[in-house]
Amino acid sequence: MKIVYSHLLNFLEKKPSIEELSDKLFQLGHEHELEGEVFDLEITPNRGDCLSLKGLARDLNHFYSAKLDQKIFEDELPDANLKFENKAENLCPNICFVEIEIEGEIKNYASYLENYFNDLNLNKNNFFTDISNYLAYESGQPTHCYDAEKIAGPLVLEKRNKKEEFKTLLGTEIELEGENLVFTVNGVAVDLAGTMGDESTSCNEKTSKVLVECAYFKPEEILGKARKYNLTSEASYKFERGVDYLAQEQVLRRFIAIVQDHVKVKSCAIKSEQRKKDLLSVEFNSQKLNNVIGIDLTDEEQQEILKSLYFEVSGDVMVPPHRSDVDQINDLAEEITRMIGYDNIAPKALSLPVKTKTISPNFETSCRNYLVNCGFFEAINFPFNDNVDESAISVDNPLDKQRSKMRVCITKSLKENVVYNQNRQKDSIKLFEFSDIYTKEGNERKLSAMVCGRTNKNFKEFNQQLDYSYLKGLICTIFEEILGEKPNFEEGKSENYDLYEKVYFKGGQIGRIGRLSKNFVDSKVKTPVFSFEISINGLEISEKKYQKTSDFPASYRDLSFSLEAHDNLSDLANLMIKVSEANDLITDFFIFDLFENKKLNILKVGYRFKFQSIVKSLTDEEIDKVMNSLIKDALLMDGISIEGL
């Protein structure tokens, strides 16, 4: 809302400088920008009462004494011969009309009216509409002007559900639909209540007899109507935020006075309905007020502040009719705090009586740190896409069709991140993301990682590519090091992958690992992309038990196997696990060499075993006994041989 500094000064007894006024408006919570002498204010939605010169002046009264004695028409007014039926009294309890007939020509606008249009660079419309617009600026109260000669029948206010064409006074054609609160004449809507009137009954330069309406509509009835019909309406903006429910007649009397400032009033008459009259009261409790704010004001000091904001304090606090935002003691506390100035409230030392708990590291934290140490970058993606998965949750009001579903996995988002980086000439990509994933089946916390391209930027690893073994090794290491146990894998098939394994942990499937198909990746860069995605719900860090270290020497044995096919690798691996589990003397084993002789179609695999006892030095005989048993078992397996045996 734009307010001109000099206009506002007319409503204040004291005359602060523009800078001082700006500071004070900030103190009161009226954020704004200053454009020359114009305050462009962002009034918070609870303060509809401040959307005018009078409203701001009332809020500034405590500091600069508001001047609210603008001239009104004070004479008694005859009853208007208006046929009006209010069929929506609960939605519009208070409404007032004046009929004004003028005589003569309007030559120039009075300075206050002329300045309103000039200083705010606004277009004039016609005499009565111009007054209505100015009056909303001055008082915050919207009024609507009908050309009285064009009202050819009783005026009815009703809420009805009717599809009908409606041409606004600005010429916009809309179709009313659903339930609307409207003023009708002979069954035809002539005014979308609180929002905008129609063209057929609007005023123009020739209008000499006007019917001005001023009402209090329940804010929730007006809310969203302008947006529904894509209309820009100052009136609905004010009604939505709440207007003074008792000011209607006063505002129309001001309207008449403004007309009189410009032209002779031949006749004027009034019709008024007022059902909502009682002021709201709030308990006055000085101690509670001080407790909320954390200060120590006397009853008198508190009351003085409240009175300066037009609250009556006589036992209870009576809330003025323009303050629809106040209905409890905390609201009064806010008023007092605003007047003192939030910045002027001295902080009081706060110590939380709640004991600090040490946060023990969880799987996610440990895993995140490990991945970062391995050169991975964490990504965060929006959860929206257009996947067709049946378990995907639909967004009822999406931003667009491409973002109409909640993602069912992280993989697709990371794949898009990979392609984005490939398109920016990145040849080594390691990304991961943790996220909650919501589907129709429930929600799960998931981790996904994706790799593609070169292993590292150094002279030894530059030519090595991130591959399936790398990623599988990563997931095995994470599980073994953090959870104390490796996962298992089982070959499977899945759309979007040309190499795929299910990942199992403690007997249940928790995810998948694989090489993404080229079709799915859909990138001009052909480097293969590998990914895993696992559910991490319930994965907890294993408590490591201390094991006594051995002071006796370790012995190593290397053994090289010749395999006829890759299948034999897993058979051999299972044997190694079995043997090592059965023998306490084997404290470690791993593959130290793997070589594929394509000419001979043979796979050579070298295992290293570590033997050590915590109670004695092992003899060669003891070690050989274990090794011979292992060799014997291995040679019984199909497709496995040991050179020289």
């Binding site: 918070t44 954390g294 705090t337 409230i345 001295a346 709640v354 970058f377 920016r424 929600n443």
Partner: protein, 240 residues
């Protein structure tokens, strides 16, 4: 005698990665707030309207509840939470007596332009005890802001409006010659306490909420909020 060749060979460097800057700031804030005594509480991102709005004194007629501001799912029965405050509602309903919780997490608003994202991160805190006042809130906010921006940081408290706090304030911090909005806070509206079965005659509370991206932007000098969610390695690499 010539020097050993190893002295001349290049070192075998390996690049480490980085935690996402938004998470990094989130973890720093959690660390800070838990050091004050707050416990961390988390909750679902898909929420009922009751927890996201009604319990927090945001009535059915409030503009925030319209289709253009909030994402609805499950045939309009649920919302993608628009703030992390529903987590605090859950905490209040579950716990009796004094309590201090912070709830970090993703929140959603139906917005997508140069300065607004459909998803962003918040961390909100609530402290309930007897006679908690606005003056106490100021003390806490000063501590938070001084920890984030240095002991010399200048703060400004402005009255604002949130349905779930009363009085409500927005806090600006002075950067150069510009005041930048950092957080929203206030005294928990007694209506919210009542909704959450907290005895509002005995207890009062303070609450605050920060946008994590905003803090990350200020901390790192990122000027475009959208950069956080492009997963550009050149961007992410800068937050090691």
């Amino acid at each position: 005698m010539s020097k050993p060749k190893e002295l001349f060979l290049p070192s075998l460097d390996r690049e480490i990665g980085a935690i996402h800057p938004v998470n990094k700031v989130k973890f720093d804030l959690i660390k800070l707030l838990t050091s004050f005594g707050f416990e961390v509480a988390e909750g679902p991102e898909i929420e009922s309207e009751e927890y996201n709005f009604d319990m927090l004194n945001i009535p059915a007629t409030h503009p925030a509840r319209e289709m253009h501001d909030t994402f609805y799912v499950d045939d309009m029965k649920k919302v993608l939470r628009t703030h992390t405050s529903p987590v605090q509602v859950r905490c209040m309903l579950e716990k009796q007596g004094p309590m201090a919780f912070v709830s970090p997490g993703k929140v959603y608003r139906k917005d997508d332009d140069a300065t607004h994202l459909p998803m962003f991160h918040q961390i909100e805190g609530i402290f309930i005890d007897e006679k908690v006042s606005f003056a106490h809130l100021k003390d806490l906010i000063y501590k938070i802001c001084h920890s984030l921006f240095g002991e010399d940081a200048k703060l400004r408290f402005r009255p604002s409006y949130f349905p779930f706090t009363e009085p409500s304030a927005e806090v600006d911090v002075l950067f150069g010659d510009k005041w930048l909005e950092i957080l929203g806070c206030g005294i928990v509206n007694p209506k919210v306490l009542k909704n959450c079965k907290v005895d509002s005659n005995k207890y009062s509370g303070l609450a605050f909420g920060l946008g994590i991206e905003r803090i990350a932007m200020l901390k790192y000098g990122v000027s475009d909020i959208r950069d956080f969610y492009k997963s550009n390695l050149d961007f992410l690499r800068q937050f090691k």
